[in-house]
């Protein structure tokens, strides 16, 4: 037999339920609201600290980009993406602590040039910091003068190697001015600006980002692990996009990445670790590349083509040639350009430059 309920019971139950919901909402809504507010406040602070950190001096107004040279590598197809209304970048070499905030603002507003400038300048400061450490080390090194361990000569204050290193540091005077007041935390963010520029459709940044996971935060830091695992997912995407846009300096890294694993091949670019090997595609791109490189570097390119053809079936060779032919119009404008062989601004991988 079902229990019966009187109208008074029903009204009472409804009332109790309402009280319960009211109590719940009274506690949960303000809690949730406070938390959301706190998150927003914290994010705002982080964004501000990122732009303000290290730039103790007041940022100067952005000057027209008189001296800014095009950092672009072969076949740069930079797209304005509606950022033409943004102010020009400050002249290159302007102390970063004076321009950092403005560059960050421009970068956030969508300027790939500002993002790329932040990356380039912070990378120069990173290289400079490493060179300073080398100089310091050599200046006091017990074997700095080439003497044997323990010799009197070996403990001279500034040995021959130290002087060599000192000279190298002297040559960095320009970066001394550029980097004064720039913090390690700012330098640690350089890879994020590179990625930002790539996301803002800068093909040069796409290539630079895709070729290395070492341009990000300090190696083996927690941030670096996050950066590297994200890079693994994104590198093939940006390489593809650079290829689609006809950015010729992606060819060399992609040839290396498509070349099947071979312990005797020097894997120059990290892209190799992220891309699935495919010899036929490596061969196709090598054919394209040998048409693009300047005449004085063609011999090596011919050798690579010959090497990559080994083991491919006749129909695969034909298919690869067709692929190379179909891609040619997209890259023809870079023919003979020395920068085809140099992914990234030259100072980043100086050892690969001729």
């Amino acid at each position: 037999m079902k229990p019966t309920s009187t109208p008074n019971d029903t009204t009472g139950r409804r009332l109790r339920r309402r009280i319960a919901w009211f109590a719940t909402l009274t506690i949960a809504v303000p809690t949730f609201g406070t938390w959301v507010f706190w998150q927003l406040l914290r994010d705002e602070k982080q964004a501000d600290s990122m732009s303000a950190e290290g730039s103790a001096t007041n940022s100067s107004a952005i000057q027209p980009d008189k001296g800014a040279s095009n950092n672009g590598t072969a076949g740069s197809n930079k797209q304005s993406l509606g950022t033409s209304s943004l102010p020009a970048l400050p002249a290159e070499g302007t102390p970063l602590s004076n321009t950092f905030d403005d560059l960050v603002r421009l970068s956030k507003a969508g300027s790939s040039a500002a993002s790329m400038r932040l990356f380039s300048d912070l990378t120069k400061c990173n290289i400079r910091a490493a060179k300073v450490a080398v100089v310091d080390s050599y200046s006091f090194s017990p074997t700095a003068d080439g003497g044997t361990a323990g010799s009197q000569q070996g403990t001279q204050e500034l040995g021959q190697w130290g002087q060599v290193a000192k000279k190298a540091l002297d040559e960095l005077e320009a970066s001394d001015q550029l980097c004064h007041g720039v913090t390690a935390a700012q330098i640690n963010q350089r890879g994020e600006y590179l990625r930002q520029a790539a996301l803002q459709n800068d093909p040069e940044a796409m290539v630079c980002y895709a070729t290395s996971y070492e341009l990000g935060p300090k190696y083996l830091s927690n941030e670096w692990f996050d950066y590297a695992s994200r890079w693994k997912q994104e590198a093939p995407f940006f390489a593809q996009k650079a290829l689609d846009l006809g950015q010729a300096d992606i060819l060399q890294p992609l040839i290396g990445a498509f070349t099947p694993d071979d312990p005797n091949t020097l894997k120059t670019y990290r892209l190799t670790e992220a891309v699935k090997p495919n010899q036929q595609l490596a061969y196709a791109l090598a054919l394209l590349y040998q048409r693009l490189v300047p005449a004085d570097q063609r011999k090596r390119a011919h050798q690579d083509v010959a090497k990559l053809s080994i083991g491919l079936q006749p129909e695969e060779l034909v298919a690869a040639k067709n692929t190379a032919e179909s891609l040619w119009p997209r890259f023809a404008h870079s023919s003979g350009d020395k920068r085809v062989t140099r992914p990234c601004p030259t100072f980043i991988f100086p050892e690969y430059s001729d």
Partner: protein, 283 residues
């Protein structure tokens, strides 16, 4: 009844808020800058590419799990495997060298021939499996032996986990595990009075990078996770001398480090070294 409903409703709402908070934190959005949050655009650029850049296949199982599931290995087994791996290409070249020496038919070369033949016989002991091992296999073996607690293996692993530098990105998990373990292995050996571990840690802290040792290796990858610190370097070099059997070059390094430090810092470093040494002895 109403109080039960109220409590239940409260618990549910708190749980919902907590779940939202945890998910938000896990997404990492509040732990990094604005920039890192930007996702890749969903639509690729216009233009038909006739080439598709495909990502490499993900490893099937977690690499750290693979290591933990490996059978027990001794340090001797690892060293044997290492010797086979490092000499993978040697047998053929050894054969050629022996043939050349025999062709020369010089009595002076007889000792060299015998030495190379012994070397060849030694290498021929390597099994097919040992010959087929990759750097990845070797690296996992070393990690396994280190995990088993063998001190020499731990020190070797701490300096160089032998992870293939051309496959770093596939080994991030193991690289992170190495970073988190390396220093504790070295410190634990130091606590037991291991002089080699002291030199290793000193080298990692040494701003001169063991310059007097003429060894480019100098504490290996530990340098990547330890900041240069002249006082610490001095302390551990000094402590290794107290323990005994420190290499000769440590003296040179100590005298060079002295020039970077104040008298107070040197005194503090020496005191710390002596205290640690006496603690080790009395333990």
């Amino acid at each position: 009844m109403s109080s039960k409903i109220t409590i239940a409703a409260l618990l549910v709402s708190i749980a919902v808020v907590a779940v939202v908070m945890v998910l938000h934190e896990r997404s990492g959005s509040s732990s990094y800058s604005d920039l890192t949050r930007t996702d890749l655009p969903a639509v690729r650029t216009a233009g038909e590419a006739s080439i598709k850049v495909l990502p490499r296949k993900e490893p099937s199982a977690s690499s750290t799990q693979q290591v933990s599931k490996m059978p027990v290995i001794t340090y001797e087994q690892f060293n044997e495997q290492k010797r086979c791996f490092e000499n993978q290409n040697t047998p053929s070249s050894l054969l050629e060298e022996i043939a050349e020496l025999r062709a020369a038919n010089s009595p002076v070369d007889q000792n060299a021939i015998r030495f190379k033949e012994t070397q060849l016989a030694d290498l021929k002991k390597c099994s097919e499996n040992q010959r087929a091992a990759t750097q990845d296999d070797l690296s996992k073996m070393l990690e396994k032996v280190a995990l088993q607690g063998q001190r020499a293996a731990q020190l070797e692993y701490a300096q160089n986990p032998m992870i293939d530098p051309f496959h770093t990105i596939d080994n991030l998990e193991r690289l992170r595990a190495w970073r988190d373990r390396a220093l504790s292995y070295v410190n634990s050996a130091i606590d037991k009075g291991d002089g080699e571990a002291m030199v290793i840690l000193a080298g990692a802290n040494d701003p001169f990078r063991c310059a007097a040792s003429n060894e480019p290796f100098c504490s290996g990858m530990l340098k990547d996770i330890v900041e240069p610190d002249a006082e610490k370097a001095f302390r551990y070099y000094y402590q290794s001398e107290l323990v005994g059997n420190a290499p000769q070059w440590v003296k040179v390094e100590l005298s060079a480090l002295e020039r970077l430090l104040t008298q107070d810092q040197i005194a503090a470093a020496k005191l710390a070294a002596k205290t640690s040494s006496s603690n080790t002895v009395t333990r």
